[in-house]
């Protein structure tokens, strides 16, 4: 008690104890800021995913012919795989800017599939030599992935009814 009440200085134990308490409290405070930063990043990521995916969906719905979607400015830099389904992929870096596949942190994939039961073709001429007008219902799926994560950040699905002109 005599030592504690003395104002000559602090003992090593006092110093260690106070540094430990300070470290624990600082650790909690720093953790709060880290959690907050992480939550903010996740909110930003969720917002970018939602806006990018719904922009892509609106572009796909706005075109006259889904077969020409790759010509739209939004998909100018997209990789296109055109098979039974139309698949477009756009790559985004960590600042959510369009980039190349090598530098990508996020991938936006767009799948367009035609529902064959709803495809109706009608020749514009009685003798079947004219232009064919085709109407179809297409399913559209837009997925936004983070590269290092297995599950998608967001998947939105919709449909659109199109009229296209063949021949």
């Amino acid at each position: 008690m005599k030592i504690l009440s003395s104002d000559k200085g602090f003992t090593l134990i006092e110093m260690i104890l106070s540094i430990m308490i300070l470290a624990i409290v600082s650790g909690v405070v720093i953790q709060l800021f880290v959690v907050s930063q992480d939550l903010g990043d996740r909110a930003k990521e969720a917002d970018y995913a939602t806006f990018t995916a719904s922009n892509a969906m609106e572009v796909v719905k706005s075109v006259d012919d889904p077969g020409t979607i790759m010509n739209h400015e939004f998909f100018r830099e997209a990789d296109v795989v055109d098979g039974d389904v139309i698949l477009l992929q756009l790559f985004y870096d960590e600042d959510y800017q369009v980039t190349t596949k090598a530098n990508a942190s996020y991938i936006l994939s767009v799948y367009i599939t035609e529902q064959e039961a709803y495809t109706k073709s009608l020749d514009a001429r009685f003798d079947a030599e004219g232009q064919v007008v085709e109407s179809s219902l297409c399913d559209i799926r837009v997925t936004y992935y983070k590269l290092e994560e297995e599950d998608s950040l967001l998947t939105i699905q919709s449909s659109s009814h199109y009229y296209t002109y063949v021949r």
Binding site: T50, D151, L154, Q157
Partner: protein, 244 residues
């Protein structure tokens, strides 16, 4: 006692403790704010997902209506193309057959007959469409067909319909109105064969005259629940039913 208060011994510790407390309050405030941001983002995300799911039902409804318009057009084209319009024993889907064929026969030249066929095509189409649309209200709940005569004496066929989701949260519905477009065919008859060419520029069988979405506010939870903010919400099933 006053001596103790006026003493400056330990003042630095008090300052450090106060500073730590302030930092903790700031930290907690930041966590609460960003948590609220994340919840807003997740709500917006869920809203967008539900909206596009509902659009699947709306677009399917439009495609179903288009199927009826397509059926009508193919029936009328087949009626003309096959020459059934000139067949007194015709027994097909076209309801007012006799009226048309009688009118055709009295034309005095092939040119007039061609013109007659071109003129009556829209009438046959609209009458046949009215027949094919009969009963659509039962097939597609929430659908109403109205047939009005316009200033040219032709009928305007308007189809109003709506779809809604059945979710408790994010309750919304899409209502739309579309107008049947009359196919424009130029029909020619040379005494033996009936030929026709469609004006492709107006090939769409309908035009959407109104399309809007209404919704109820998102249901917020009244109690604050502290869960794991990093836990990912369960994925929505791919084929969530969003139907009438």
């Amino acid at each position: 006692m006053f001596k103790n208060i006026s003493s400056k011994q330990g003042a630095a510790s008090v300052l450090v403790v106060v500073m730590m407390l302030v930092l903790m309050v700031f930290g907690l405030a930041m966590v609460t704010t960003t948590l609220a941001q994340l919840r807003l983002s997740n709500n917006h995300e869920a809203w967008v997902v539900k909206y596009y799911e509902l659009e699947i039902a709306a677009q399917k409804r439009i495609a179903d209506i288009d199927s009826i318009l397509y059926q009508t057009e193919t029936e009328v084209v087949a009626y003309m193309k096959s020459g059934d319009i000139l067949n007194p024993n015709y027994n097909g889907p076209i309801a007012n057959h006799r009226d048309y064929s009688d009118g055709f026969i009295i034309q005095d030249s092939v040119a007039n007959q061609s013109q007659y066929l071109t003129d009556i095509f829209p009438m046959i189409y609209m009458e046949q469409l009215a027949i094919n649309l009969d009963g659509i209200e039962t097939l597609m709940p929430g659908t109403v067909v109205s047939i009005d005569e316009n200033i040219t004496g032709m009928s305007d066929i308007t189809i109003k319909s709506s779809v809604t989701n059945k979710e408790e949260d994010y309750k919304k519905y899409i209502a739309f109105e579309l107008k049947a477009r009359i196919p424009e065919y130029s029909i020619s008859y040379n005494g033996q064969i009936i030929d026709g060419v469609k004006a492709v520029a107006v090939a769409d069988r309908y035009s959407i005259t109104n399309y809007f979405e209404l919704q109820e506010p998102v249901q917020y939870e009244e109690d604050i629940k502290f869960g794991n903010p990093f836990e990912k919400p369960a994925d929505t099933p791919a084929d969530t039913p969003a139907d009438n």
